[in-house]
């Protein structure tokens, strides 16, 4: 399960969407698994059910989950289309940030090693 950060710039709704996606990516939710009901999810996260409802709708429209009426929401089979549009937007933000680091006099290799360390800590990959 995941936590919500109330202070984050990201809206809660987006956090729920991303949180669910993370769970699927990390394998906590496998294809065919049933997602928590809106009721349980909103209670667990202490968030308005509408928010969960909207998140689930978004996930469904992106193909991450599918709903069976009367039975709930389930993780879809197969690979998921990465959200390239979002990815591009984040890359663009990264570029802006890197510009600022260059401006501050940080060297490219320092940035690289720093990035590696982050990835290692967060994902355990290299």
């Amino acid at each position: 399960m995941f936590q919500l950060d109330l202070k984050s710039r990201k809206s809660l709704y987006e956090q729920v969407v991303d949180g669910c996606k993370e769970m699927v990516i990390r394998g906590e939710l496998k294809p065919g698994d049933r997602l928590p009901s809106i009721r349980d999810m909103s209670a667990a996260l202490t968030v308005n059910p509408n928010t969960v409802q909207k998140a689930y709708s978004r996930l469904e429209s992106e193909g991450w989950i599918y709903t069976v009426s009367g039975r709930g929401a389930f993780v879809s089979e197969g690979s998921h289309e990465p959200d390239t549009v979002r990815q591009e937007a984040v890359y663009e933000k990264m570029e802006v940030l890197m510009e600022e680091l260059f401006y501050l006099g940080v060297k490219g290799e320092d940035i690289l090693s720093r990035l590696k360390r982050i990835i290692q800590e967060r994902r355990g990959e290299i």
């Binding site: 109330l6 809206s11 009721r39 349980d40 209670a43 202490t46 308005n48 928010t51 969960v52």
Partner: protein, 237 residues
């Protein structure tokens, strides 16, 4: 749906509420927000039939609230200052409520008491303030209300209890379309829970609407930022 129109309430020469309009959609969680002394409790006491409005209307699903027993049977209220009859314990309060509320759910009552770890035989007046809040909450939720009115609900509760409490409420909102109005000046607590807010100032609701819509216009502000923005805006205007 809760519909308040042109509500006026005066205390002697002081006008607390001055033609107030408010609307809470069914199944939504409405945050009533305002500075201390803005009249939140006065408004809430009229929503629950304790005080009588000088003029204006308060309707739950089209029915006036005041002296209306059938509406009150579907409404649960947790006030800021709690009161329990005499030396009663949870069990006897439960029996009292059972005689009053048609939809009383004894199973839920027992389950919740156990869940919160409250003794049903100790006198409630001996409970700590937080436990008393929990007791009031259990009694309220066991009446299976259609409307829940909360005045400063989180005073005195630790985060675990708070999460439990909201868990139950959110569950009913999700499953039964429970309509909730919660007043607090602790906006962080309401963050994420409310889907609409109303800002009470100078005897009226100055600002009311769905949070999603408000946020779109105002770049994902937090509730606190939104409140300050709204109040400042009013002072400028």
């Amino acid at each position: 749906m809760i519909q308040v129109s042109s509500l006026v309430k005066k205390f002697g020469s002081f006008t607390a509420l001055n033609g107030l309009d408010l609307c809470v959609e069914t199944g939504s969680i409405y945050g009533l927000v305002g500075v201390n002394g803005s009249g939140k409790t006065t408004l809430i006491k009229q929503l629950t039939g304790v005080l009588r409005p000088d003029s204006g209307e308060i309707k739950f699903d089209g029915e006036e609230v005041y002296d209306n027993i059938s509406v009150k049977k579907r409404t649960a209220y947790i006030p800021d200052e709690l009161y329990f009859l005499g030396n009663y314990n949870l069990k006897s309060m439960g029996e009292f409520y059972r005689g009053l509320y048609e939809n009383w759910n004894a199973e839920r009552f027992n389950t919740m008491a156990a869940d919160f770890g409250l003794s049903k035989t100790d006198r409630i007046c001996r409970f700590s303030k937080g436990m008393q809040k929990q007791a009031a909450f259990i009694l309220a939720m066991s009446t299976m209300p259609d409307y829940l009115i909360l005045d400063e609900p989180i005073d005195g509760l630790d985060p675990i209890m708070r999460k439990k409490l909201w868990g139950y409420i959110l569950g009913d909102v999700a499953e039964k379309q429970l309509t909730v109005l919660v007043s607090s000046h602790n906006l962080r607590e309401l963050e994420g829970i409310c889907d609409s807010i109303g800002i009470l100032s100078n005897g009226r609701i100055r600002f009311q609407g769905k949070l999603d819509e408000l946020r779109q216009d105002l770049q994902d502000m937090s509730l606190e930022e939104l409140f300050i923005h709204a109040m400042e805006g009013k002072e400028d205007a």
